[in-house]
């Protein structure tokens, strides 16, 4: 008996310096609130189940999450991933809101992590429904370029460490090379207007509204073009600026209506609906938010294999999306571990490849990665972007950042009043 004890003490003594040194490497970084150290987080997270509420409409994304995060979480950290699919992220916001209304305290809630950005984040932040700040207190946040306004500002609002980036996306169009050639493609809204008039009934866009942010983004980009550029929209919400240009945009969209699919009587409500219209040849342009462009949807068989992504010359909105932890998350530690894992460069390299089913862009700044095996993974990913993607140069050249979240709700409501119901 005594010998066994001795052995244990010895082992403990041997391990102590290692633990201390591990502590040291993170000395420059404060632990997330409520935890003594990152090790304490790992310790507490072991055995927990992380309830991740995320939009679940894409099975390939679901599959990606289960494979690329679920397995390492369990194997490396002893955490079980419970991914809860949502029809719309606002459902999760509403859930936390209802819980807070019902007086549910910290640790007693149901949601550990939400895939979130923009308006939903803004709502939760405003109602103080989030745990934090923590996003700059997890180890892998060192790969994140927090200086980049597109990361530090979510729809023009400061992130303040209450959400951690996961991936990035950029608006781009899809066309079918079997139906038209690259020379005929419109490269601006002005050209799109001409194209639509010349090809009546062959174009439509996703109705801006809840759960259909690509539609909102499509309209937002018109604001940029008609007002002469995106720069003036960056920063605080500006009602005057909006009021100045909104009538112009509505006028344009109304002028389109007779030339749109179904004469603009109705609009597709979701991305999936537009994919279907495009695939069946009802319209000639499709939208996506994926840097891999058409590749992902060619893979799933949702659109013809001859499809190809393209961009306008400018004003293609790109942004980051994030994960946030509700104030009442029952498994904060596990949520932190997951958020940290998502930033690991090899997994980031996995998520950009269409074949893996996720196909969104990097959440980290790849130039900060110095580990060799990670660099190799990133280089390999670059070769696998698929034939359906828009040229990387076009994407980079047309990229603009998104703007204050207030515009989104405003555009959605006004579009409905001034275009849909006119």
């Amino acid at each position: 008996m005594a010998r066994k004890w001795m052995l244990l003490v010895l082992v403990a003594l041997l391990l102590l310096p290692m633990a201390v040194s591990a502590q040291e490497t993170m000395d420059d970084m404060a632990p997330p609130p409520g935890f003594a150290s990152w090790d304490a987080v790992l310790e507490e997270a072991r055995g927990q189940t992380v309830n991740w509420y995320m939009w679940g409409g894409s099975d390939s994304i679901n599959e990606f999450v289960d494979t690329f995060y679920g397995e390492p979480l369990l194997e490396e950290y002893g955490i079980t991933l419970n991914r809860v699919p949502l029809a719309d992220t606002v459902d999760a916001v509403n859930q936390v809101l209802s819980e807070s209304e019902a007086g549910v305290g910290p640790g007693e809630g149901t949601i550990d992590l939400i895939w979130i950005n923009g308006e939903n984040f803004f709502t939760m932040r405003q109602a103080e429904l989030l745990y934090g700040p923590w996003a700059q207190n997890i180890p892998n946040s060192m790969y994140v370029d927090w200086e980049n306004p597109a990361v530090a500002l979510d729809f023009g609002r400061p992130v303040d460490g209450y959400e951690s980036p996961w991936s990035s996306a950029q608006f781009n169009f899809i066309y079918d090379t079997a139906r038209m050639s690259a020379e005929d493609l419109p490269r601006s809204y002005a050209e799109l207007t001409e194209w639509a008039i010349a090809n009546p009934g062959r174009f439509t866009y996703i109705a801006p509204g809840p759960g259909a942010f690509l539609g909102t983004r499509f309209v937002k980009q018109i604001f940029f073009e008609v007002s002469g550029g995106q720069e003036q929209w960056v920063g605080e919400f500006n009602q005057e600026l909006y009021d100045q240009w909104a009538p112009v945009v509505w006028e344009l969209l109304n002028a389109w209506e007779p030339y749109l699919w179904r004469q603009g009587e109705t609009y597709p409500a979701s991305e999936a609906e537009l994919h279907e219209l495009f695939a069946n040849g009802e319209v000639d342009f499709d939208f996506t938010n994926l840097p891999s462009g058409a590749s992902t949807f060619i893979e799933t068989g949702q659109i013809p294999p001859t499809s190809q992504a393209f961009t306008f010359e400018t004003n293609m909105i790109g942004d980051f999306n994030y994960v946030a932890i509700p104030y009442n998350a029952p498994n904060v530690a596990a949520a932190l571990v997951l958020a940290n894992l998502m930033l690991r460069p090899d997994l980031q390299a996995a998520q950009v490849q269409p074949a893996n089913g996720f196909g969104l862009g990097y959440g980290i700044d790849v130039s900060t990665v110095s580990e060799e095996e990670f660099i190799a993974a990133i280089e390999e990913a670059a070769l696998n972007m698929g034939a359906g993607a828009a040229p990387a140069a076009d994407l980079a050249a047309s990229l603009v950042s998104d703007i204050a979240a207030e515009y989104q709700a405003l555009i959605e409501a006004d579009w409905e009043a001034n275009v849909l119901r006119r």
């Binding site: 309830n51 409409g57 209304e101 999936a272």
Partner: protein, 287 residues
């Protein structure tokens, strides 16, 4: 019937039946089609991709015994949701029958004051839309801590289920002679054995129909599960609804088939008890 008349008659029957089952036929095509775009009438490419995606068939090359086992034990969304849906349906069925049986007996066998009022109250949930009460329920359930638990959702499913269970069973009791029980009592059977040997066998066909409705109404419930399950009780209709509003057709079709299979199976198994139960068919209105 004359020859022409007979041909017309059969044409009408075939037409009606075919039209009614056509939506279901489209599921079978969609679920196995790949790149099935307009104007193809018959798909050019067939694929099991949708079934792979929902985790019911292993990917090509992994369709070995081990691959199947790994897949089924990995617990894909659909398999988990199938389990949840079945557990929920089973729980609702058992609860509703246990709770509804005494009430059905009281309504079927006895006359009492306020009987009309009681009947009206029990039937009210069949008329008042779910949307009218579920919003109020949502907040209270969160407050009481029932929200997001399987039991909580099951209890809420009881609201649309109870009217049909009580209605069906009270119809059975209206044609039931309680003297059979008295006969058994005087022959020496205690209350429990009287229930087991006398009451249960007598009402069994009606009980099957009631249970069928309870299960099916629960099985097809979307809004209640969505709002009370708080995203933690994921049933097949929840997955299917999310999929249908933003996913790919093949996967939607495959999931739809998964969704209707147990329902049709239950109908098949209990069809012999169902014939002629006009009052009971009312339960289908809720599905």
């Amino acid at each position: 019937m004359s020859r022409v008349k007979r041909i017309l008659f059969y044409a009408a029957v075939v037409g009606v039946v075919l039209a009614l089952v056509l939506p279901i036929i489209t599921f079978f095509i969609n679920a196995f089609a790949f790149r099935w775009f307009y104007p193809q009438f018959v798909p050019n490419e067939w694929s099991l991709q949708a079934w792979e995606r929902i985790g019911l068939i292993p990917r090509e090359g992994q369709r070995t015994l081990e691959g199947w086992w790994r897949l089924l034990s990995s617990g894909s969304d659909v398999i988990n949701a199938l389990g949840t849906s079945l557990a929920l349906g089973g729980l609702v069925t058992v609860l509703s029958v246990i709770i509804g049986l005494p009430a059905a007996r009281a309504l079927g066998l006895y006359r009492f004051r306020f009987k009309r009022l009681v009947e009206f109250m029990i039937l009210a949930p069949t008329i008042v839309p779910v949307i009218a009460f579920v919003l109020g329920l949502n907040i209270n359930f969160i407050r009481w801590g029932f929200s997001g638990t399987l039991l909580g959702v099951a209890v809420v499913h009881l609201v649309p289920v109870m009217p049909y269970v009580v209605l069906t069973l009270s119809g059975v009791f209206a044609n039931y002679n309680p003297e059979f029980e008295e006969q058994a009592r005087t022959l020496g059977a205690g209350p429990l054995r009287t229930f087991w040997y006398i009451t249960l066998p007598s009402i069994f066909p009606g009980l099957v129909v009631a249970a069928l409705f309870a299960f099916l109404v629960s099985w097809s419930q979307y809004l209640l599960t969505f709002l009370i399950g708080a995203g933690r009780v994921i049933t097949i209709p929840m997955l299917l609804f999310a999929q249908a509003s933003g996913g790919n057709n093949a996967v939607t079709a495959a999931m739809s088939l998964i969704f209707i299979a147990p329902a049709v199976l239950t109908l098949l198994l209990s069809a012999r008890y169902l014939s002629g139960e006009a009052s009971a068919v009312g339960g289908f209105g809720r599905i």
